[in-house]
Symmetry: C2
Subunit: 413 residues, 2 copies
């Protein structure tokens, strides 16, 4: 945690309320409990704004299911939420998290299609990082029988985003080329797998050097983020590429546009360059807005180029796109059952370890998805601290674990 | 011609060189002629910069065919060229025109796929408005047997542009909605026809009121350009539309973006709002560039929107896109042969009438395509001048006409 700021002094080890949290799991019977554990963001700011506390048990409303959560996905966007570095941030305190999976524990009236005991994954408009969630069935999908909870928590957001960008915003077809920034991230890995379902697609990946060994087989060509990757790509493909997927924003926008072939599509699906330090002022979002290079439509006309933005969560929760997403999910689950795609999991973390997990994604240390495993206990502190934990990962015993495979289990410091 | 400026004083009737031009046709044998008639733009500016003059007969180079031209298409872009109101305008004098059709008269060495006598249509990088053109076969397509030359001259540019925008830049699918500005223009009419080849597509058309009677059957809903069409469309389709096609640019860009559904696509394929008067200063293009509303990629991200530009001519002649265009043309010719599409022709004009034709398109008087009919003689002056010539159109005798159907034959003043 060497990179963290001074406001981390008090809480470098465990979360304040972890003992309370463990009691909730161990002492009370889940089905009768009036409270549950959840990660709470007390206010926008640094890692010290995060707590695990008890919250009142939610009950499902008409059209909703109540889910006993097994695992949650952690995304870069959660960091931006923590900093308040998003448009129209909600009020704090709040429970973060946009996706989870688990078992249906009860079904409210006027709720179609689900039964108690169903294994499901769900998108949430916040509130996912908790032992129990309630959500309308529009955002809930049944898990395939052979999908583990770890996989399910790593599946929904990244694969749906990758799929919709490649096949609905752009139109990926045989013989095309795709450049993906952050090739080692969870979306990047999903993009690479989906590209391999189409014949003869060339994938150019950009990633930090230390990830290259782990991900080199997932893409056709891999470049260092710090190298002049524009020139490198042009050496291989002088005409440029058909699709660019960018979650960084900033200077990459102009560079990426210049790499597009005629009729090529640049898709911005995040703005992680907006996050530079651990904390950020409340004016960051507005500042970033103005710093981003604007695009002149006449330039697009002259160059025959397409620029798109994609935000799965806005599509789901602000723009009524749940049917579009359902359709994409159906196709993805079919690909999963054909064993053509499988989420890449970086590491599993207890709720109490959410700060360490966030630091890892902030440092771009991850390869694939970070998962919050609700039933996992915090890992004991290790002597040799390292932010590149995936390099040093090893299996450890999991006292309350389910039967999911745990691909990476990093040392926690 | 009431709207034309003072620089029109000398040439309100015929072009200076029309008698020379007629001699070339009537006296000399075409195959032995060393000269041919062509429209020449002497310099950028008003209508008075256009002449019909004799030019040296071109001869095909390796990989080219020589085409005896029967008819040429006139596009709004030709007005912008005349004014020099494009990026990097070429040197004058030049022969304008980007598309024509005719009969292959000779074939150079190393030229595959065409024979003398083939009926063809061709894209040209200028130089189309002439009795004879030479062009690489990459830009030449064989005409279906039952397509007339008038139809062919109205077909290539507008249908290929409409097709590629609807099906390759956007992905028009069953049940979608399309808004087209300039619904009465040649691209607008092509868009409407192509939309009708997909089940259950709603087409919103914007056009000047006086065109409504003529085109109302081609679209689902028709609105007046001067009305608050945004509100009208939203009344019918509160969620907005899937695709907007805009050749106007300017204030329509922001309005159109606001009308898009999530994942919807706005395509700019022209900037005719840049042309306001008959002449324009040389700085107009740069001025327009800066006046156009720029788009922030983060806005696209938040709203899940796509903005694209499409210039068929840049794709063909600057960006090596002839194979993409060939593929679109193949599909279009198949639709034509199935009688699912048919170009709408506004009016036919002799080369000597190019100024009147340009004025008509400048005034947005046309419904469908304006054609320069190379074998047509200038129509006699009529006493009652009218710019809305299509309202007063009637058939007239055509001394040198081929067998093409001449849908509209306006009085010329």
């Amino acid at each position: 945690m060497a990179k963290e700021g001074v406001d981390m002094t008090e809480e470098t080890e465990y979360m304040i309320d972890r003992h309370a949290g463990k009691e909730a799991v161990n002492v009370e019977s889940p089905s009768n409990a009036k409270e549950m554990r959840a990660v709470v963001l007390a206010g926008f700011g640094g890692l010290n704004k995060l707590r695990v506390t008890k919250k009142a048990m939610p009950e499902p409303q008409d059209g909703e299911v109540k889910i006993r959560v097994k695992a949650c996905g952690l995304n870069f966007l959660d960091l931006m939420v923590r900093q308040g570095n998003i448009d129209n941030p909600p009020k704090t305190p709040l429970v973060p998290g946009f996706e989870c999976c688990g078992i249906v524990e009860s079904v409210a009236e006027n709720t179609q299609g689900f039964e108690i005991g169903d294994r499901v994954m769900a998108f949430m408009n916040y509130n996912a990082w908790a032992e129990v969630v309630c959500t309308p069935v529009d955002f809930v999908y049944k898990m395939p029988d052979d999908m583990t909870f770890t996989e399910a928590a790593a599946f929904s957001l990244n694969f749906v985003a990758a799929y919709m960008m490649l096949f609905e915003v752009a139109s990926l077809q045989e013989g095309m080329s795709v450049l993906v920034h952050s090739a080692g991230g969870a979306v990047g890995q999903a993009v690479a797998q989906l590209c391999s379902t189409v014949p003869n697609v060339t994938v150019f990946g950009i990633a930090s050097c230390f990830k290259h060994t782990s991900i080199k087989d997932s893409v056709t060509h891999l470049f260092d983020r710090n190298a002049d990757y524009i020139q490198e790509v042009k050496k291989i493909s002088p005409d440029g590429v058909d699709i660019v997927l960018d979650c960084l924003c900033g200077e990459n926008t102009g560079k990426s546009l210049s790499l597009l072939k005629p009729l090529g599509t640049y898709i911005l699906y995040g703005a992680s360059n907006m996050v530079t330090g651990e904390t950020k002022s409340f004016f960051s979002f507005a500042k970033s807005w103005w710093q981003v290079e604007k695009v002149n439509p006449i330039k697009l006309y002259e160059e025959n180029k397409v620029i798109a933005g994609f935000s799965l969560l806005n599509l789901l929760f602000k723009q009524g796109g749940c049917n579009l997403v359902k359709s994409a999910m159906d196709k993805l689950l079919s690909l999963y059952e054909q064993k053509k795609i499988r989420p890449v999991v970086d590491s599993l973390w207890a709720l109490e370890e959410v700060k360490e997990a966030m630091q890892r994604i902030h440092d771009r240390g991850n390869i694939g998805k970070l998962i919050l495993d609700v039933e996992k206990s915090p890992t004991p502190l290790m002597a040799n601290d390292s932010t590149e934990t995936s390099e040093a990962g090893e299996e450890e015993e999991e006292p309350e674990g389910d039967n999911d495979s745990k691909e990476r289990m990093p040392f926690i410091h």
